[in-house]
Symmetry: C2
Subunit: 190 residues, 2 copies
């Protein structure tokens, strides 16, 4: 009963993305996804609290990698540079899974319910980043502000990466977003 199914989450995810693309997000049930993955609905709900979570389970793993990256970033880097170094490392996953990640991003963008969940996951990432920056010696309100701005960079970079006709890497878009933020904070009116 409690035995693990190898790669179950990945199998559910692949099945879900195929079905969402074919018959739409609303028209696909957890039971459909399980059948397509060759697994049971019961197994689906052993891994995911609800249907949409099949699109969000990676957020937790990415968050762990990002926090590790911030804690390991060279001392003396300014706070958002340390955060962006961590984003670039974690984003290697995106570049290696471009079609799947882009399909997911487009789905999330198209469904307000999924956008709301994405924003909540972003808040969880912001809280984890705040703790990681505090460990680097940053005082609390500054760490909080830097984390919120960091999540904005993460999200804008992912948007730009998804829409990029030249398919440049995620790192490129993180660095571009950080440069745009610098320009907005300290640059001229243009």
């Amino acid at each position: 009963m409690a035995q693990k199914t190898p790669n179950a989450r990945e199998r559910f995810e692949t099945a879900a993305l195929t079905l969402f693309a074919g018959r739409g997000y609303a028209g696909t049930t957890a039971r459909d996804i399980a059948a397509r993955a060759g697994l049971t609905e019961r197994t689906f709900f052993r891994y995911f609290a609800d249907k949409p979570e099949v699109l969000f389970w990676r957020a937790g793993e990415l968050q762990i990698n990002i926090v590790d990256g911030v804690e390991a970033a060279p001392a003396g880097l300014r706070p958002l540079a340390a955060v962006c170094v961590a984003f670039e490392a974690a984003g290697a996953f995106f570049d290696a899974n471009r079609a799947k990640v882009a399909a997911r991003q487009n789905l999330v963008a198209a469904h307000p319910e999924l956008r709301a969940r994405e924003l909540m996951k972003g808040q969880s990432l912001a809280a984890a980043l705040t703790a990681a920056l505090r460990k680097r010696g940053l005082p609390e309100p500054t760490a909080r502000m830097a984390s919120e701005a960091g999540v904005s960079i993460w999200q804008v970079a992912l948007e730009q990466w998804t829409a990029d006709p030249r398919s440049r890497g995620y790192s490129h878009h993180v660095r571009t977003a950080l440069g745009q933020l610098e320009a907005a904070v300290v640059g001229s009116g243009r």
Copy 2:
């Protein structure tokens, strides 16, 4: 039938905050709120799509004021400075209604469903800010990044304002958050 009830939204809001404080958010229905306000449930749903919206209707008005403020800000101000000038003007409402706004903020913070809606309203504000900054001549991706960072400033400033034991004005917290963002982007490791 279609006649307007003077200050209906404010009456519903005041009644809702009183009931949410007394018997909890989950334990209060739209019908309860209407009864407390001396109005009908039908009138409630003429003004609000659902119960939580009684806590969010001001977001649309604030957003209009903020966009007007960005468009009217002196030319040559750097983008986030223009956004913050607009936030400070709009935030006069917070200072003039401290008890009510703080009660609302604490409610939102305590309920994930309300936090999710707050984040969605933030996304709407970000989209409106992007359009306003484009009108100031900022190119699209920079305007997008500046708007997301602006919404982070708005939200962090509101958190700090709500929790401030010294009850300083909202403007103070906006300027502080902007300074913290500057430090995180261009400052040293600390």
